[in-house]
Symmetry: C2
């Protein structure tokens, strides 16, 4: 179980601003470039650490924005420069993953690829590896495979995937038919989902043969498919910049969920492999607080950074991020969220964690793009 999987490549889309983690996450230094768990590794590094044993050396491709290329390469010395694909501008996840699939097919033929976002936190490497191995077997059999995460509660922050009958694929005993995907539900709906035993969280992970993916794309969005194939054909050639400059701006912006997963699931082509590991997309500060270990003082307090810089009085459950080096004192604000950075300070509560995006919008409206 610890060997690399032959013919398997991992694609890591490293994009997304992580706006609800502002001001820790910024446009210039988004979420995936940060160590949000105090592990000593950034989310991007943690993602690659998890995947390299499954692919073997040279088996991880990162797709990121041109402005983050240098930072990504600096954080990942074990990933070769040619395996960091830089997008000239954001074109959403279908273009990112489709480009990686087309480049992999160009370089290596009809391999299996697995796409895993750079900004998720997973605990349980062995179970993760087992799920991926089964997923690769199901992908070889022609399915688009998604990973369904065992829900720990009726979350309204995630989408769900509904599973059907086992598919009986050799080497992939737990893989089932995926009947469909749902958007983030309300609390009542989420509870009803879990009561059926058929629903799991949709982590946005996909495992699929490069050609299967490109064939589905050709059927659903032929122009996007043709554009990506045209770019991939010259990716490792001198014409890359010219073709990128001409074609990339014309590509359709669409998420892989809408472009492929949903229509293919409706046609019966998606499988689900259950993943019984701990997973979180660290979507906001409430979620981040849950991932951190409790501070020495107890009371549900959490610190991301140097504990000596934080003083809490009557502030049970308060999350403090003292990342400017200043002393932070919180008095009488239970469940406070205080994020202290050199140029911007956020004060909110866990319950308001989803509203943080409004702060970013507010500063943008005032023309303070330097803070975004």
């Amino acid at each position: 179980m610890t060997d690399a999987i032959p013919g398997f490549y991992a694609v890591v889309p490293a994009g997304g601003a992580g706006t609800r983690l502002w001001p820790l996450s910024r446009a210039g230094a988004p979420k995936f470039l940060h160590d949000l768990t105090g592990s000593g590794r950034t989310l991007l590094q943690g993602t690659v650490d998890r995947l390299l044993p499954l692919t073997g050396p040279g088996g991880v491709l990162v797709v990121t924005g041109a402005r983050h290329q240098a930072a990504v390469q600096e954080q990942l010395p074990e990933v070769r420069p040619q395996d960091v694909l830089a997008e000239p501008s954001p074109r959403d996840s279908m273009a990112a993953i489709g480009l990686a699939a087309a480049v992999l097919e160009q370089r290596h033929g009809d391999v299996v690829l697995g796409s895993f976002a750079a900004d998720q936190v997973i605990d349980g490497a062995q179970e993760f590896g087992r799920a991926v191995r089964e997923g690769v077997e199901a992908a070889r059999a022609g399915h688009v495979v998604t990973v369904g995460i065992a829900a720990t509660g009726p979350s309204t922050a995630f989408g769900y995937v509904r599973s059907g009958q086992p598919l009986g694929i050799a080497g992939a005993p737990s893989v089932r038919h995926a009947l469909g995907f749902t958007e983030k539900p309300d609390a009542e709906t989420a509870a009803a989902y879990l009561a059926t035993g058929e629903y799991r969280w949709n982590a946005g992970m996909f495992i699929v043969r490069a050609r299967t993916l490109l064939d589905h794309l050709a059927a659903q969005l032929p122009a996007l498919h043709d554009g990506l194939r045209e770019i991939a054909a010259v990716w490792d050639a001198p014409e890359r910049d010219e073709v990128l400059a001409r074609v990339w701006p014309t590509l359709t912006r669409i998420a892989i969920d809408h472009a492929i997963a949903e229509p293919v699931a409706a046609a019966g082509g998606v499988a689900m492999v259950p993943g019984d590991f701990t997973w979180d997309d660290v979507g906001d500060f409430a979620s981040l607080a849950e991932l951190l270990p409790e501070a020495p003082e107890g009371d549900g307090a959490r610190t991301l950074g140097e504990e000596a810089l934080v003083l809490r009085i009557d502030a049970t459950g308060a999350l403090v991020v003292p990342s400017s080096g200043r002393a932070v004192t919180v008095i009488g604000v239970p469940d406070a969220v205080v994020v202290d950075t050199p140029d911007a300070l956020l004060v909110t509560t866990r319950a308001c964690a989803q509203q943080v995006k409004g702060g970013v919008d507010g500063w943008r409206a005032r023309g303070r793009d330097d803070l975004l």
Copy 2:
């Protein structure tokens, strides 16, 4: 009414750390050195601005700690260097005011002095002047005169003075007997006080002839009296440093309220002049918030500093002090108090304003004296 009062000198004790206004107020830059109202003048400057028209030029004496002498002189170019008395170490208000009285008597004979703390905010200069003028007349008649402030509510943050019959002093028609002083009461007691119509807030202002004060001191605390007289005798002579070094450390630490006001009131020697101006001692951030004008956005929000640095969302009544230049965002914390300074950040609420001292104690316990 706008002329200076002949033979009247003002004493401004500029001491006290203002711990409950930390981290704005620090041991090295206490409350009175700050502009806490956004007026463009510090509390100390505002105090002297109010007094100079009543004394005339050269009539204000400031008593402060040696470590603040330079800052005080820099803020008060209109006060001559010899009129800033520097205490080698804190010896509480009786020593500070007693020293000023003895130095004034040494320099000018038996003048009337009025003592007004450097860290109070007053609105209503004309009414303040009227009260002082009447107070000076009562002082000339031999009384220790205190100013009783018209209470705007049953505050538990202030002490009270109870008034008796009018004294019928010429030129001081509103001056009454002062029956006694009370410590800060509980809410019920405060309400009962106000219901009688006899009680006013004790602002800690005293107007008295220098010799009257020194005679009371000689009767109550002869050693302290003798020490202060010995120091004052050489204050303007070469021996000052030698005598200060020898005598000052021996002086009794006691507040003027306990040393003089209370025992003399009990003996019938204290008068009260009513002051119907707006007064506050800016004791904590809740009090500070009330003194500031509402921010343009309304909702009870207050900003001490640059409005453009503050973004509030669902944070009605929040007080923000953006004094480090960083952008401050407050989301979903009504009545928040956020004080942002270059090396320390405080997050609390108006309701917890009195607990701020606990934060200072906490950092002291951790050995972070640099923050105090």
